[in-house]
């Protein structure tokens, strides 16, 4: 007998069919692509113990903060893989034995994917050899050029990223010309006694007459001091005895410690004039501690933080500020240029940019990107110079930037690229 309307059985079959159809549709829908994950190991060798430890530790810390922040933001996406970064800092103790063990550890034990940083020719040589053998990218910041020229031809994966060595000796001129210290007329020059120091002194003495004639800046005293000196009084007293009083002390080649002591001891002698140098200050608070707060206020030096430079992309400005904040929260003092950004973090940034552009972490691809594309990092956007500059083909160089110590921080003063013709 026919029921009224649709039979139950029929309804059930319809519903079940619809459900089955829906289920099949869902099952056959294209699956959402799961992102690939990976770990990118970044290696760096720094003096974490021994005499240069005060220099190496802030750099390591700043770079670690950078890596932590990147990971916090979800890692770095290169191609189709999202990488968590792992920073491996190896202590090279500032000795040859330590450097060798360190390079070894990074390349063979930890098997890092890239090495960044490296500021000594001995360190760079050893690291370069290991990186080339392992075919990984090595981005360093060696300032002493003779060392680079020796090793670079055999190391196609090595890049140099840093601020200009040669230009830096024009700092006093730039300070005068650009109005930061417009009234200076005389200066006393002190350089440390090593190859770079002596050649710098020689060059500047050679330029003495030219600087006096063209810029009205006269060198009235010059001396070379042993690199390990802790007491600069012999020379500073001689400078203090000059009449009329000299306008500026130019530490044309000196370490940060040298500069701190010059500032401290010249202040002690009542010689309160600007102390201009080209040493990088990792931790300004520490510099103020060594020199004494009052004395440190007279210091001008090279290098500034990314937020003081111009031409830095918004993305990197923001990251730099975040790193600064984390450090400040932890230590209470500011972390400016010094090598904190410029000796390790910037090199890492450049690598990551190049890898992102290339879409892969394969060495050949990254090298090609570094060689041919504009690379963004903490100090701007740069292209590798293709010419043989100082014997290195792979050189990415940014402007020299001068800062002055104010309080326990630094303030940007002037910047310059090419020397004045």
């Amino acid at each position: 007998m026919k029921q009224r309307g649709i039979s139950t059985r029929f309804s059930v079959i319809c519903v079940v069919s619809v459900l089955v159809a829906l289920a099949l549709m869902v099952a056959c829908a294209a699956p959402a692509p799961t992102p690939k994950m990976g770990v990118l190991k970044v290696g760096t060798s720094l003096p974490m113990s021994g005499p240069a430890a005060a220099w190496g530790n802030p750099i390591a810390e700043a770079t670690q903060i950078y890596v932590d922040l990147l990971n916090q933001d979800g890692g770095v996406t290169i191609g189709d893989t999202t990488y968590t970064l792992k920073l491996i800092v190896s202590d090279d103790k500032y000795t040859p034995e330590g450097v060798k063990a360190s390079a070894d550890r990074l390349v063979y034990t930890e098997k890092v994917d890239v090495v960044v940083g490296g500021w000594l020719p001995t360190l760079a040589t050893v690291l370069a050899a290991e990186c080339t053998a392992a075919n990984i990218v090595f981005i360093q910041n060696v300032r002493e050029l003779p060392g680079l020229a020796v090793v670079s031809p055999e190391h196609p994966t090595m890049f140099n990223l840093g601020d200009p060595q040669i230009q830096m000796m024009w700092v006093p001129i730039q300070l005068k010309q650009q109005g930061a210290l417009p009234d200076i007329k005389t200066y006393a020059m002190l350089t440390k006694d090593d190859t770079i120091g002596r050649s710098t002194a020689e060059t500047i003495i050679g330029l003495k007459e030219e600087w006096k004639a063209k810029y009205g800046l006269d060198m009235v005293y010059d001396a070379i001091f042993p690199i390990a000196s802790v007491d600069m009084t012999p020379w500073l007293s001689a400078i203090a005895a000059l009449k009329p009083k000299v306008d500026l002390i130019y530490a044309a080649s000196a370490t940060a410690t040298n500069m701190a002591l010059i500032a401290k001891q010249s202040h002690e002698l009542g010689l309160d004039v600007p102390v201009v140098g080209i040493a990088s200050l990792t931790d300004v608070g520490a510099f103020c501690d060594t020199a004494g707060y009052d004395a440190s206020q007279y210091a001008y030096t090279i290098g500034c933080a990314p937020w003081q430079a111009s031409g830095v992309s918004a993305e990197y400005l923001e990251m730099a500020s975040r790193i600064r904040q984390v450090y400040r929260d932890k230590h209470g003092t500011d972390l400016t240029y010094g090598a904190a950004f410029g000796y390790c973090a910037t090199q890492l940034a450049a690598y990551l940019e190049a890898a992102k552009i290339a879409g892969s972490t394969k060495t050949e691809d990254v090298v090609r990107a570094l060689e041919t594309q504009p690379i963004k990092h903490f100090y701007g956007t740069l292209m590798a110079s293709g010419e043989e500059t100082y014997g290195i083909k792979h050189r990415l160089m940014y402007d020299a930037m001068v800062v002055k110590v104010e309080g326990r921080e630094t303030k940007f003063v002037v910047a310059f690229g090419e020397p004045i013709p």
Binding site: G50, D91, K93, T95, P96, A101, T122, V126, V150
Partner: protein, 325 residues
Amino acid sequence: MQLNRSAKLVLGFMIPALIACAPLFLPSRWQHILIMWAVWTIVGMGWLVMLRVGEFSAGQVVFLAIGAYAASVLTLYFHWSFWSAWIVAGVVSAIFALAIGVFVLRLRGLYFLVITFVVAEMARLAIAATDYLGASEGMWGMPGPANIGPISFSTKQGWFYLFFFILIIACLTFWRVEKSRIGRVYMYIGTSADLAQSFGLHIMKYKVQAFVLGGFFTGLTGAAMAHYFGAISPEGFVFYYSLVAQIVAILGGIGHLVLGPLLGAFLYAGVDEYLAIIPGWRTLLMGLLLLIVIFFLPSGLLTLRGQFLGVKERKFPWYFLRRRS
């Protein structure tokens, strides 16, 4: 250790075979540790042989420096082959030991210690002031040896073999010295120089001999080390490394000229590498280890086994350094 003939034969084959195969299966980190093990064993033996003749040297690092710089100058500036430079560096180091030893070994005890300290520092400062030797930046880019057949020196393999070669030669030499008449003479001189002299032994001759022996091997090691690292600087030859020579010999045991430093250096090389991430604690630990050994195990860890078995500790090594007053 008394070994019968067959044991000696077996060891004689096994050890070289093990060493030959090692670079093939050992990870690079361990190859580096073992190389440093070889280095510190040799330096430690050089120190210990001086302790045998009754002198406490605080300047062993100077031979490392002389060997390293001599060889580097020859290969880098004069373009000598590594092998000739290496041998010559060892000889130069030995000659230096001879020249210094003849003057310095006239002094005894405390004075010898201080003078060796001063000589080592003087050499280091002289190097740091000399542009020709790279001054404080050091020297780099010294060409290493060319590959020998399948053995490559651009990887660690060749260096591994070289350092173990030096180690074996040094160990065999010092072992022979320990067992032979010369070794006994050293001990007599160390225990009581005056008494030995009354027997007609020419003390200076033996002391200088021991000094030169230690200097030669340490110099060879330094030369090889410089080229293995690829770079050297005065920072690598500071006083701390003379302390390492002590640490290595004391930890292992001064009772045995070869086995003591061998054991001590193994411990040191391992600890140094594995604790590299915590530098402050590492230094602290080394210091504590030294104190613990000196107070509880004066003859070193070698005697640990004996202590467990209730064997009375051989006290002889310290006799000859007793103060008389």
